[in-house]
């Protein structure tokens, strides 16, 4: 059996905004089947790092390979599923829950042929997140936590090998949080690769097998890269800013104030 190339292979990566290094000298190799939590206080560049992994932010220095291919040549996008915090343009024209979920399988592959699995997979994914009965409702009529569950259902329709979550717990109610933990455990058991960005330590980050903690140091952005749990002295660093967030998020008011 040949060795599968790493899912993400980032070398000496730097991303600058206005001359400041937001992501500094990051070497990060994520292999098939890993469950990686990217942790850090706000402003340490973890969202930017995630966006760089997805090719959404160009690197100012360094290289990125996705499944062995240089990022600009990568084409197997159906192997990736990205779960953002919210949809950028939701709410201008009514969009139904099932349209949002079904949109995940839209791709150039289905320009000239029908995607026969789409409807069945959409329904199955909505069943999994407990929102099948809301499939015909307007997406923006759902609560924040329900919308997040729809976003997770969206990713589940893809049968991707790699799932990338942006702050999946921010502003999410307890029920949705619990459902998310179950979904992540299921994906992990199936051997999928999971990368999630979060500023909260807790139920979700404890599921991860590897933690990458970002901060500011002379050696670049990564201040810890190793097995979970995160060492105690760093835990304090991350959790330090976190108390207010946890309090806010339990009331559902938190919009994560992450800088890009």
């Amino acid at each position: 059996m040949s060795i599968e190339p790493a899912v993400f292979d980032l070398r000496h990566a730097c991303v600058e905004f206005d001359g400041e290094h937001v992501v500094d000298e990051v070497d990060l190799t994520i292999r098939d089947g890993e469950f990686v939590a990217i942790l850090g206080e706000n402003g340490t560049g973890k969202t930017t790092l995630m966006r760089a992994l997805l090719g959404l932010v160009p690197l100012d220095h360094g290289t990125l390979r996705i499944f062995g291919a240089p990022q600009e040549q990568f084409g197997s996008w159906q192997r990736l599923a990205y779960v953002p915090q919210r949809l950028l343009a939701a709410g201008n024209v009514p969009v139904s829950v099932q349209e949002v979920v079904g949109s995940a399988r839209i791709s150039p592959r289905y320009r000239f042929r029908r995607d026969r699995e789409s409807a069945a997979r959409t329904n199955a994914a909505l069943e999994t997140v407990g929102l099948l009965d809301r499939r015909r409702d307007r997406f923006d009529s759902l609560s924040g936590g329900q919308q997040r569950r729809v976003m997770i259902a969206r990713a589940l329709t893809t049968n991707a090998d790699v799932f990338v979550f942006d702050e999946p717990t921010a502003g999410v109610d307890a029920e949705s949080q619990h459902l998310l933990a179950g979904t992540l455990a299921g994906l992990k058991a199936e051997g999928r690769t999971i990368v999630l960005v979060t500023h909260e330590l807790g139920e979700i980050s404890d599921l991860a097998t590897r933690a990458v903690v970002l901060g500011h140091s002379d050696h670049g952005s990564v201040i810890y890269d190793g097995p979970t749990p995160v060492p105690r002295h760093l835990r304090h660093d991350i959790a330090h800013h976190d108390h207010d967030h946890v309090a806010e998020s339990s009331t559902g008011l938190l919009e994560s104030p992450e800088t890009p």
């Binding site: 950028l88 201008n92 009514p94 000239f112």
Partner: protein, 276 residues
Amino acid sequence: MNPFTYDFMQRALIAAVVIGLIAPMIGTYLVQRRLALLGDGMGHVALTGVGIALLLQTAPIATAMIVAAIGAVVIEIIRARSRTAGDLALALIFYGGIAGGVFFASLAGSKGSSALNQYLFGSLSTVTASDLRGLIALAVIVIVVLAIFGREMFAMSLDVEVAQVQGIRTTIMSTLLTVLAAVAVVVGMRTVGLLLVSAIMIVPVAAAQQLTRSFVTTMALAVGFGVLASIVGLTSSFYLDVPPGPTIVFAALALFPIAALLAIPIRKRRRRVVIA
């Protein structure tokens, strides 16, 4: 007396129904992307094409189409390159479009200037049989392109970045959509006119979205509203002896409060369902 016994009215009716059909399809994507005024801009740009045609005494549809398509691509390049100044750059192109239209039409003499009016607000009597064939061909192209790429455009309209990670070529889709808006503008310039054509893209969508819960039904209802407004507007334009542009837009605007009234019982019923 039935106005549609006249040949010119039959042609005008077909032209109006064609624009009422395709404009709201494109408008649904534009509203979703918060680009409701893009069609307006394309109309301004197409005006330069009309001005050039009047000066060269060629068919305006072809030159308007070429200039509007070039404008569409330039706008997309500007939008992709500069995030902050994009809005301002668009404004510059749009003003340039109007100035160019009036400038070239005026060079063509007084006849050119009065002809320009017909393209600004529409005209019942000027749709020739060959125009009609051109308009129908353009409309068929729009529908075929949407049938092939419409789903990708929908995903892009929901979230550009998520669509990109799905492998959708978002820059190409965005450019294609803007070019389609340019095509719709050219299809509509004969009947609705370049200054008002954007209304038939946007107003039916604004009316429809009060009554619907999904993107597809919004588009379908908006198309229905668009065709209805075109027919009603064109007929009243004949009886009132005014250009069809304003009457078609009035008819579309009238649908907005009607849809709002119809939406009240629907919303109440939905709320009851949610509570129960």
